[in-house]
């Protein structure tokens, strides 16, 4: 997918976030398919007649070319790769949430081609159906799996026996579900919902509700104390 020539690397990428730099440049955080998350300097990208102005936009599939070995590389070219319908309304907020999740959880220079493809599919799904909780949950599960934090959703962490659909469990982000103590204050999840998540079966509406609570619980563990801006900021506009 990506190629190298004369010290320059080319490959498919998405912009995750941009920051203005000096008068006319742009600092671009990108997710590349084969080189992971990178920070690129796009010189002159903010000039009024720059050819990449308007192109270096989040959620737009791009072909990028860059060079350099340091943590901050220099972008030498950006081209439109393919059509991705623009995200608007709630789908846009969901997209921003995904980008923030990746900015927070993905290390730089750590390639995850599978995650890149899943991200591309997720953006397409968001554009098609709008902000659907299931679309976000699938991506979150995939992201955790790619990072090596994949959730164990099928066995009781204490007994190593399959989950009882009728029982209620607490969830340890590292170990998995444990039978909830009768008077426990911890957040609890139904065995049925956990099994359905493991099977990627979202037919029961309660599965999505439970999954949202579970992912919040697990992501909070991995994100540490600082909550996500997108979640904090858009509390008034409910994210699915």
């Amino acid at each position: 997918m990506s190629s190298e020539r004369g010290g320059k690397v080319r490959g498919p990428a998405y912009v995750l976030h941009t920051l203005p730099w000096r008068e006319t440049s742009l600092l671009v955080e990108v997710l590349t398919r084969d080189h992971g998350r990178l920070a690129l300097m796009a010189r002159g990208a903010r000039r009024p007649r720059s050819p990449v102005r308007g192109l270096l936009r989040a959620f737009q599939p791009l072909q990028l070319e860059w060079f350099g070995k340091a943590e901050l590389r220099t972008m030498s070219q950006a081209e439109w790769a393919t059509f991705q319908p623009l995200l608007d309304g709630q789908a846009l907020y969901c997209g921003l949430y995904l980008n923030e999740l990746m900015l927070r959880l993905l290390a730089r220079d750590d390639p995850h081609p599978g995650l890149y493809d899943a991200y591309a599919e997720t953006l397409m799904a968001l554009a098609a159906v709008g902000g659907e909780g299931v679309v976000l949950r699938r991506f979150e599960l995939r992201l955790l799996k790619e990072l090596g934090y994949g959730l164990q959703l099928t066995l009781d962490a204490d007994s190593a026996r399959p989950l009882d659909p009728a029982a209620w469990y607490t969830f340890d982000p590292e170990q998995g579900p444990r039978i909830a103590a009768a008077r426990s204050n911890a957040v609890q999840f139904s065995g049925r919902a956990l099994c359905a998540m493991a099977a990627d079966d979202w037919t029961e509406p309660t599965t999505a509700v439970q999954a949202k609570a579970l992912m919040r619980h697990v992501l909070a563990f991995h994100l540490g104390h600082q909550d996500l801006h997108t979640r904090k900021l858009f509390r008034e506009i409910t994210l699915p």
Partner: protein, 200 residues
């Protein structure tokens, strides 16, 4: 050798300007004190006058020296349409077109979710009060077509829609006089997505 404290304070103060680092601030301070003292005096007076005199208009939130700006007080503007823009520069651009006769609300910024710039940084409660003054019938969202501008437009839409306000978004597509061949792919693609019917 230590610089006089007044000079240091000036250099430090100049650094609050966007894009001005320690070197540029030092250059500016030397220039003002050595080469252009009258200019420095004018700058100091203008700055201190602006700080006390210039405020936000009660109506449109743009800069003004009165309680309400000229544009808001002008009798020949259509008070039933309210156009929401990000910056005073955007307002001036729309005014240059002479195509719009309604009134404005200037946000003085935009939401930037990933930078932690949230709704509390924009005076959105004032916008809501302004839009629901009983005269306004339509709110035109004219924020930029950037990710941040779109997020801002959606947010304002969600604030006003439940209150029964008619909302519209400025159109997007090929520039007037634009040729397909020389237009960027993103714009052409979106122009096709947002094509409008000519029948009926």
């Amino acid at each position: 050798m230590r610089s006089p404290s007044g000079l240091e304070a000036l250099i430090d103060a100049l650094r609050c300007l966007p894009g001005v680092g320690p070197k540029s601030a030092q250059r500016m301070a030397f220039y003002l004190l050595q080469r252009d003292r009258p200019g420095a005096d004018r700058l100091a007076r203008a700055l201190s006058h602006a700080l006390t005199a210039v405020r936000h208009c009660n109506g449109c939130n743009n800069f003004t020296e009165q309680a309400s700006c000229e544009l808001c007080l002008s009798g020949d503007r259509d008070g039933t349409v309210l156009c929401v823009v990000e910056t005073p520069a955007d307002l001036l651009m729309i005014e240059q077109t002479h195509a719009y006769r309604g009134q404005y609300y200037v946000l003085m910024g935009r939401l930037s979710p990933l930078d932690g710039v949230g709704p509390e940084t924009l005076a959105l409660d004032r916008l809501v009060r302004r839009a629901l003054d009983g005269v306004v019938r339509e709110v035109v969202l004219a924020t930029n077509f950037t990710v941040e501008g779109e997020a801002t437009a959606h947010y304002i839409g969600e604030l006003l829609r439940p209150r029964g306000m008619k909302l519209s978004r400025i159109a997007r597509g090929l520039p007037v006089g634009g040729e397909l061949e020389y237009t960027d792919a993103g714009t052409v693609a979106q122009a096709l997505v947002e094509r409008r019917s000519l029948t009926g």
